[in-house]
């Protein structure tokens, strides 16, 4: 009976991700008490590409941490593709969630080769095989690397530790998307790179997302990017979503308007010194 209602919900409602009244407080009951997430409600349709902006400490990374399971939420529920994952262990959620951090060192194993790193990430969905490296997968990896256009396809036996930050981040991006997750979380994944490399990685990101149609959330401190990329933009402050725009409203939105909205709404200036206004 339950299964049937589940099925009906799945057919009728277009849900990829739902956050329902999600709250998280750190160090509750102490002087350091910090409300990182305050009754967050968020609904994503399949294929949504949401950009997220907000000042330092607004709770952007905390939303990702809650979804990916870096911590368990205090209250509320997180549904991924209509399945409640609120209490699932982080590595189990990772089966359907790809996550990319700001630090290029975080997402790859430096003393393994590019090929081995990809093989590990691919083991989620790869055909069953005894050995981690095999011809069929290698061909697939080579094809993916060729598409990055960074010359990495000829360096598959190179240890990832010998790559530049940008190259590592590109490899990590492949690792996050190689097994076609239901959700891709990008946390300022170009912030640690030089502008030219950042641009290239961003281009690769949008290409992959456009092609694979993976539902994506991207945190950025570049408001211009936030409005230009994806189909929807969310602004966060003090653990709350204070703005959520898409469609015409979003395409008409300018950076100035966004900043004015913020200061009017929150009675303060957007204080992120890293926010790019250009």
């Amino acid at each position: 009976m339950l299964a049937l209602t589940d099925l009906i919900i799945k057919l009728v409602v277009n849900n990829m991700l739902d956050l329902i009244n999600v709250s998280k407080t750190f160090y509750a009951g102490t002087v350091n008490e910090r409300k990182a997430l305050n009754s967050i409600n968020l609904h994503l349709d399949p294929g949504d590409f949401v950009t997220i902006i907000g000042s330092n400490g607004a709770g952007k990374s905390s939303v990702f941490n809650a979804i990916a399971g870096a911590f368990y939420i205090d209250s509320g529920a997180i549904l991924l593709d209509n399945k409640n994952i609120s209490m699932m262990a982080d590595y189990k959620r990772a089966y359907d969630i790809g996550r990319l951090m700001q630090d290029p060192m975080k997402g790859t194993a430096p003393s393994l080769t590019i090929e081995e790193n990809l093989a590990l990430a691919y083991s989620r969905k790869a055909h069953k095989s005894l050995f981690a490296l095999n011809k069929r997968d290698s061909e697939y990896f080579r094809e993916l690397l060729t598409r990055l256009d960074l010359g990495l396809e000829s360096r598959m036996k190179t240890k990832v530790g010998n790559l530049s930050g940008g190259q590592r981040q590109a490899v990590t991006l492949l690792m996050c998307t190689i097994s076609l997750p239901k959700l891709l979380l990008l946390d300022e994944h170009t912030a640690a790179l030089d502008p030219a490399t950042a641009l290239k990685i961003l281009k690769i990101t949008t290409d992959i997302v456009a092609e694979s149609r993976i539902t994506t959330m991207m945190i950025t401190h570049d408001i211009k990017d936030a409005l230009a990329l994806g189909n929807r933009t969310i602004m966060m402050d003090e653990g709350e979503i204070i703005l959520d725009i898409k469609g015409e409203e979003r395409s008409k939105m300018t950076i100035e308007e966004l900043l004015t909205y913020y200061s009017r709404e929150r009675k303060k200036q957007l204080t992120d010194d890293r926010i790019l206004l250009a």
């Binding site: 590595y91 990772a94 975080k106 194993a109 081995e116 989620r124 981690a132």
Partner: protein, 303 residues
Amino acid sequence: MTLLIGSIQLGLLYAIMALGIYITFRILNLPDLTVDGSFSLGMACAAVVTISGHPFLALFIAILAGSFAGLATGLLHTKLSIHPILAGILVMTGLYTVNLAIMGGKGNISVVGSKTIFSMVESMVVVPGGMGETLLALSICIIVIAILAISFKTRFGLAIRATGDNEDMVRLSSINANVSKCIALSTGNACVALSGALICQYQMFSDVGSGSGMVIIGLASVIIGETIFGRRSVTIGLVSAAFGSILYRIILAFALKIDMFPAYALKLISAVIVIIALSGPSIKAIIQQNKIRREVQTVKKAQ
């Protein structure tokens, strides 16, 4: 000659312990101190079962016991979040009692007169000079290396290697890093216990204190191997650890032979080898820095 053959035989048998150390220290990147206890554990199990007349079963029981010891350390570390070094020390300490209990409360027991895999081979192969024993030790060593080398090429082996390298990345790839750690610790200690069991049958006795200092001896072997072969792939790493163990025994035997050291200096020598090897990179850096400093000074003077 007998000295050389003897040390090669010992080196091959201890090599299996070095393989275990290589797995935990180098591949998993986790300093596992269970080893001292699990070596004696392997010895104790092997002694009791060998005396009861089952030399082959003795080895399997030792492997099983060793893997449980490693698993215990792994569970203390992953489930109870105890620091891995402390987890290892806890299990090692507990094993001391377990080992005594296995040996019926006695500190050492002799297996003289019982059938061992070595006595069986000697009676089968009629080559003089302990050739049979050497070949047996060599084949066991090769088999273990082959099994491990193949295992680390599988998907699960790759997961273990990645866990030692970047645990977060493993979790992000939807693999339970805790399982990788427990299995690697299990495998490592199974090797160590097997080595203890073989040494027991080779030397015809089991002593509850035999395991002490084994971590350092194993680490010294791994490091000697690495200085010769360099740090490369896992397969080469395994082979080089085994070579390191043989070399260690040969060096040791000759040092003792020419009365360079008394026999009880063994552990101090091992410790010094490890210290020298570990200090290598920092000493190199200091030399490099001094060189740069001198060059800068000469440039200044020239101006």
